[in-house]
Amino acid sequence: MSILNSSNIKTLEFDVLVIGGGGSGMRTSLELAKSGLRTAVVSKVFPTRSHTVSAQGGITCAIASADPQDDWRWHMYDTVKGSDYIGDQDAIEYMCSEGPKAVFELEHMGLPFSRTENGRIYQRPFGGQSKDFGKGGQAARTCAAADRTGHALLHTLYQNNVKEGSNFLNEWFAVDLVLNKFKEVTGVVAFAIESGEVAYLKAQATVLATGGAGRIYASTTNALINTGDGLGMSLRAGIPAQDMEMWQFHPTGIYGAGSLVTEGCRGEGGYLINKDGERFMERYAPNAKDLAGRDVVARSMVLEILEGRGCGEDKDHVFLKLDHLGADVLNAKLPGICELSRTFAAVDPVYEPIPVVPTCHYMMGGTPTNIHGQAFKLSSSDDDYIPGLFSVGEAACVSVHGANRLGGNSLLDLVVFGRAAGLHINEALKSGGGVANCDNDDIDLALHNLNKLNESSRGYEVSAVKKELQEVMQNYFGVFRRGDYMDKGVTALTEIREKIENLHLKDKSAAFNTNRVEAIELQNLFEVAEATAISSLQRTESRGAHAREDYPDRDDENWLCHSLYDPTTKVLGKRHVNFEPSQVDAFPPKVRTY
């Protein structure tokens, strides 16, 4: 294969590029295509097979259907509290107040929401939802399309994008950002997986909508496609990432598979046991026991494992006991869980406990942006953006989730901010905004990594390095975090970095060479993992999902702020949290209890 350069690859030009074809990407592209802008969605898989499909539960929004008195301010209060006070209150206010508009738009586009008897949109209760600023009890605020909301959302958005004329570059893989001499983003270099053909995709605005990167961990609920490609690209280009220490873990993923076992199991009376058969949550949370918060249960499980009371040959998991509930209850109330357990653990919960382990679920951090999706530079100024670069959805950190995301808020995040980015880009480009052309050297620079991989004659094997990376992240930067452990983890990552930069691509073929894709995905995962490791080590407090044994308390004096990771110096800086919503008074930090 000859060396790729700006003179031997073609250029495809659009007004806007959206990298990623999940919910956030397609909501952005829909807004742009409706405005008449030439918009291309670059997706490595067919868009309706994106990971948004896994958001089965619903979209949380105060549309006042289940409760006519419901108020977006109550939703805002819950979200600020859930974020452990490092969610930006201007962004949370925007999401909660604009949310109903975005949801009704989806309804009008044809999203088949479930209905109440009188024809209104059905809303279900989720954890962390309250009425009257936490004083009025449980709210039912999550709009659902049965248990397939993500699937319905993807189809609605895809069909409407086709109708509005979005261009889909399906099974295309974006490799690296192209930046011009003014450090404006002018597009990406990418290749068609089917043919191997490489192109410079040029645009006035590039939107990263590539979702999360849960594959940095060995145990994750994330699909194989969740490799943080947009974040990997931006980190390689020296663009910062915010709050990367904040990862949500679900306590009960099936050991060895990652498939989620819903909290409903413990709600029905199931409980966790260690190798001695002890119901250990009674020691850690004497009142709530197995129904304590997700973070509390997950940390307790890891402590049991670390103290040698884990189950199995390697003592590296615990058991979820359900058999005492009886076959009738299990088959009637938890049929899906029984089937998942039989399939992935070869265990029938009617007779035996399910092996489970805390499992990575959601990335709260990402590329820092304002409510229009504009990506921030590494600067303390709120007006300092990277021209041409935007980010939305799980890839972005806008930040509405702060240190902990509430259930049902991920779909709202992506439709509200996908729409907002689309509206802003349309207005900006139509009023003459845009970026300057790049030089050929800039394209060549963006091709460097791909060329190096294509030219490799020896080096490290991708699958072995990926396994090593995932184990380091799971062991040192998972639920249980302590400075001395994380120091060891950072050292291990330094050794892995050398391997990442010297991967060997044995198969150099062009058409459907999935090895090439997997090598670059691994490089993207590594960038995200390193950002996570350094951010976790340097945030010396416990807040939300980030829980440190050596710093067990929240430290508002020093850490009521975003962490901002600089990939060039690998130093963690700070950015202030917004406490200036425009329509309500800010919610001041309080002790977060449930």
């Binding site: 309706t48 097979r49 990971h51 499909v53 993500g150 089917e194 990652g258 998942l340 992935f344 060479n513």
Partner: protein, 82 residues
Amino acid sequence: MNTDINKTKWKCRRGLRELDLLFRKYSEDKLDSLSQEDFKLFNSILDMEDQPLYDFIFKNESLNSPDKEKFILNNIKNFTDK
């Protein structure tokens, strides 16, 4: 044929973790030795959307295709048996 196999392997990348696990395992174990007929049937299953496949495998909701259902039950769902 190699390109066809790689193309099929890429189609095993799904939006849902559970389907990733099932299809990837099957493709790694069996794809190279499938008959043309089974190769075609497996591809027609991969062309389906994630949600109905998930609902069939874990909730027993029909796919309205006895051939596909039989193939999944006999070859793909028995994840831990292989």
